[in-house]
């Protein structure tokens, strides 16, 4: 299973370190923090979908899946036709207006090649962004929930158990 960036929205404080880290690495931020009036914040980047519509519609094969499962792109093959942008349900691929080619998150291919984490995950001061496989992340959460329920049951405080998301 491929590794992706997962978000623990509960930990996000909307500091935008991820945006700035991405911008410092790629020239433009490919991740964006959405802010809501109730202090709820969500950083959002390309999901690198398992059935990526952007990849399916790309007529030149500029979008491809790399060894780690990221939907990466080859700028030399891109013709700037915007098909990927039309197909993406999240509006992720953006047009680099100067070069007339598309620009999107490639999970920091250069950094991964050096064994480093993507820049946004590296920076995130609250560890709201996690890089890993879906099952690993889910097991981790489930483990926490179980431990919490067990702890509360042992203390006879079942009603106080809370779910750690």
């Amino acid at each position: 299973m491929s590794k992706k960036i997962f978000l623990d929205y509960k930990r996000c404080i909307g500091c935008k370190a991820c945006e700035v880290a991405c911008e410092m690495t790629h020239g433009e931020a490919r991740i964006r923090v959405f802010e809501f009036p109730d202090l709820f914040t969500v950083p959002f980047n390309c999901r690198h979908c398992e059935k990526a519509p952007c990849m399916n519609v790309c007529p030149t094969g500029a979008l491809f899946r790399d060894e780690d499962g990221a939907v990466a792109f080859d700028p030399l093959k891109c013709i700037g036709c915007l098909m990927c942008a039309v197909a993406c349900p999240f509006g992720v691929p953006k047009l680099d207006e100067e070069n007339k080619i598309m620009d999107k998150c490639d999970l920091c291919a250069d950094r991964r090649a050096e064994g480093l984490l993507p820049a946004c995950v590296s920076a995130c001061p609250t560890e709201a962004l996690k890089f890993g496989e879906i099952n690993e992340i889910l097991w981790n959460r489930e483990g926490k929930i179980v431990a919490n329920l067990k702890g509360s049951a042992e203390k006879g405080e079942g009603e106080k158990a809370y779910i750690v998301l």
Partner: protein, 687 residues
């Protein structure tokens, strides 16, 4: 072409958390940064947006590259370039002339929380060598309520525990502090771990809903400047309900009876009338505070008030009587806003101190330092920063400012700018032509952080070394070198024989006993640094006051404290409280962060937060251009109508022009001005 990339270990130049990372340097330029996960560093490799973008400002085209001499009017910002030798000659001649005409007491120096420990030490040494004790730094408006108050009670102001103890606390009280924005790494790595992973409870006391507020189970929203009333009521509750730590009070404190007597009138009901916070809520928080292991995090919301000293005394009393000190899992102390706040404070940058921490009036301490330094030290207490500004053109004829921007950061800045014009001579040493530098006669271009080697001291007392990763632009030089060369020009060269910051640090090791063990060699080998007091290499002190306090008898001296009104309260003419706050993307007066494109783009301009009820009353909608006025002045800003600020209060970020509105009245002892609670009015401006 083969370019060699060097990984240079550096300390982040913004807040005082003390994050480390690597600057990836190529031929004297920083190409990018790399996160440092390998060492037991405080940030565990993590960085906030300012940290990630931290080398952008050093590449700004606006950097000062040559010494400048003013040609236009003061404040106009017209200069001509001159050579270093000419700049030194003019400054030295002027210093000599002013000394001969008015005596050395007409000259004042400002150190800075932005320059290294070594450089602050040199500013101090140079001012004493010239013969003046008029010495201060802009941190006067930062920690100067909490610091003297904690010193009065515990004998020392510094943070008692390392940050890791915050993660172990059972209760986190965030009072007048917004760590989610001012110190996101600290918030994410320690506070969030305590709350989300270790089940700690969190209480926020602030007139605004800050970013971290969503983790809090209780949020008290007092009017700005009335927090003291809540602190007094909490003391009242803890004492009257006998929730205090009996053994601790008996064994380790003195003055409990006086304190009990002083606070007996201050019931939560009384506090409710003043602060607007329900009495029952105050009771609840007081009970939690007394019964749990508490980390108390305070900052400018406590400090930047004229009654901040009393407020800080009340909190120090509260910490002492509840025994939340000297053990694991508690935290309290000062939290400087800048990475080198402690560098200025610990090198004795204050009108009444020696670098050894002793008072200038202490004859024996002076004699000891005179022996070490080799020259005579003046014995009188100098002026603090606000008094210096007040005396400009009168007692103070000349100022030498290193890395401070008082024309923007000091309260009532329009008045400050008028005062700056009255000086006979002003030297400003900085990396940009700041608002203050525009009033200077000579501007000296300094090297920025990353362009020099030096020591930084973080909020948890961690002493760390940062190394040179880039070359300064043009003819800019490190501050220490400028001071050394100027001293030579003044004929004081024999006392300033330094070729490298290591030599200055070695002198500090021998002059300041608390830093004896923080040698350049030890810090080079240990990137995580050491906790001061570190008397021998490798022997730092992680938790303070485990046994005694730093007072003469080793006990905490509880201070009776009384309610004190803020100097200005809302009235019919100015019906709202105006307070300030900091944004995650900017830092202080923005000299550096406004020159960081990634930050400026995301946090572009100032605005005023208004509660929907107030907004309705004044017919204001989000995005409207409004005029915010106080008795000192007015500014035009956009309005943001939001529930995140309580009714009756308006709030503005402090990086832009808010100090046109603030009040220069100071506390008689601490000289702290009122920057956070002034009476204001707001009205819509027709477009």
């Amino acid at each position: 072409m083969d370019v060699a990339e060097k990984l240079v270990p550096v300390v982040c130049p913004w807040c005082s958390v003390g994050c480390r990372f690597y600057a990836v340097s190529v031929n004297g330029y920083i190409r990018r940064i790399e996160f440092d996960y390998d060492h037991p560093t405080v940030n565990r490799g993590k960085l906030c947006p300012k940290g990630v973008a931290s080398y952008q400002f050093i590449n700004s085209s606006k950097r000062l590259k040559k010494p400048l001499k003013r040609v236009g009017e003061k404040g106009e910002g017209k200069f001509e370039e001159i050579s270093w030798s000419e700049a030194y000659r003019i400054i030295a001649e002027k210093i000599k002339e002013i000394k001969e005409t008015y005596g050395p007491e007409a000259i004042a120096f400002l150190g800075s929380e932005k320059i290294t420990f070594e450089e602050n030490y040199l500013v101090h040494k140079l001012s004493k060598a010239i013969g003046t004790n008029h010495l201060d730094f802009p941190g006067r408006y930062c920690q100067y309520s909490n610091s003297p108050a904690r010193t009065a009670v515990f004998g020392s102001a510094a943070a008692t525990n390392p940050f890791e103890d915050v993660a172990k606390a059972e209760l986190i009280v965030i009072w007048g502090h917004n760590p989610a924005e001012t110190a996101p790494v600290f918030f994410g790595q320690y506070i969030e771990k305590a709350v989300l992973d270790n089940g700690a409870q969190m209480v926020v006391i602030d007139p605004r809903e800050t970013r971290g507020h969503k983790y809090a189970s209780i949020h008290l929203k007092p009017y700005p400047g009335t927090d003291l009333a809540i602190a007094l009521a909490m003391l009242n509750v803890v004492i009257s309900e006998e929730l205090y730590d009996r053994d601790f009070v008996q064994e380790r404190t003195v003055g409990f009876e006086e304190l009990k007597e002083a606070v007996k009138e201050y019931t939560p009901e009384w506090a409710e009338k003043i602060s607007g916070v329900p009495a029952e809520e105050v009771r609840k928080v007081a009970r939690l505070f007394a019964t749990k292991r508490t980390a108390l995090l305070v900052n400018e919301g406590l400090n930047q008030h004229v009654n901040g000293f009393e407020f800080a005394l009340a909190l120090a009393n509260l910490i002492a009587i509840t025994g939340n000190i000297g053990k694991e899992g508690v935290w309290s102390g000062v939290f400087p806003g800048a990475q080198c706040g402690f560098c200025a404070a610990m090198s004795g940058i204050a009108p009444n101190k020696l670098p050894t921490g002793k008072l200038v009036t202490d004859e024996a301490a002076r004699a000891e330092l005179e022996r070490l330094w080799g020259f005579k030290i003046p014995d009188w207490v100098g002026l603090d920063l606000t008094s210096m500004i007040r005396e400009m053109g009168n007692k103070i004829k000349m100022m030498y400012i290193v890395g401070g921007n008082i024309a923007k950061s000091a309260p009532n800045s329009r008045w400050v700018r008028e005062q700056l014009k009255k000086l006979d001579f002003l030297v400003v040493q900085d990396i940009f032509l700041t608002e203050t530098a525009k009033y200077a006669d000579i501007v000296l271009p300094a090297a920025a952080w990353f362009e020099k080697t030096g020591t930084a001291i973080s909020a948890e007392r961690r002493v760390q070394r940062s190394y040179k990763a880039a070359n300064p632009p043009g003819e800019a030089k490190p501050d220490w070198l400028i001071l050394v060369e100027l001293a030579k020009e003044l004929g004081l060269g024999e006392y300033f024989k330094y070729e490298h910051p290591d030599e200055i640090l070695r002198e500090i090791n021998s002059v300041i006993p608390m830093f004896k063990g923080a040698t350049p060699e030890y810090l080079a080998e240990h990137p995580e640094g050491c906790f001061f007091p570190c008397t021998e290499p490798g022997e730092g002190t992680k938790v303070l006051f485990k046994k005694g306090f730093k007072t003469a008898d080793g006990k905490a001296h509880l201070q009776p404290v009384k309610w004190r009104e803020p100097p200005e309260m809302p009235d019919e003419e100015y019906p709202l409280w105006l307070t300030n706050f900091r944004q995650v993307g900017h830092w202080h007066t923005g000299t550096m962060s406004f020159e960081s494109p990634s930050l400026k783009k995301r946090w572009p301009e100032e605005y005023v937060m208004i509660n929907p009820k107030d907004a309705e009353k004044y017919g204001i909608k989000s995005g409207d251009l409004v005029k915010v006025e106080t008795r000192r002045g007015s500014v035009l800003v956009r309005a943001e109508v939001t529930e995140h600020v309580r009714e009756g209060v308006i709030a503005m970020p402090n990086h832009w022009n808010i100090n046109v509105l603030t009040l220069e009245v100071t506390h008689e002892k601490t000289k702290m001005a009122e920057l956070k609670a002034v009476a204001a009015r707001v009205r819509k401006v027709e477009e």
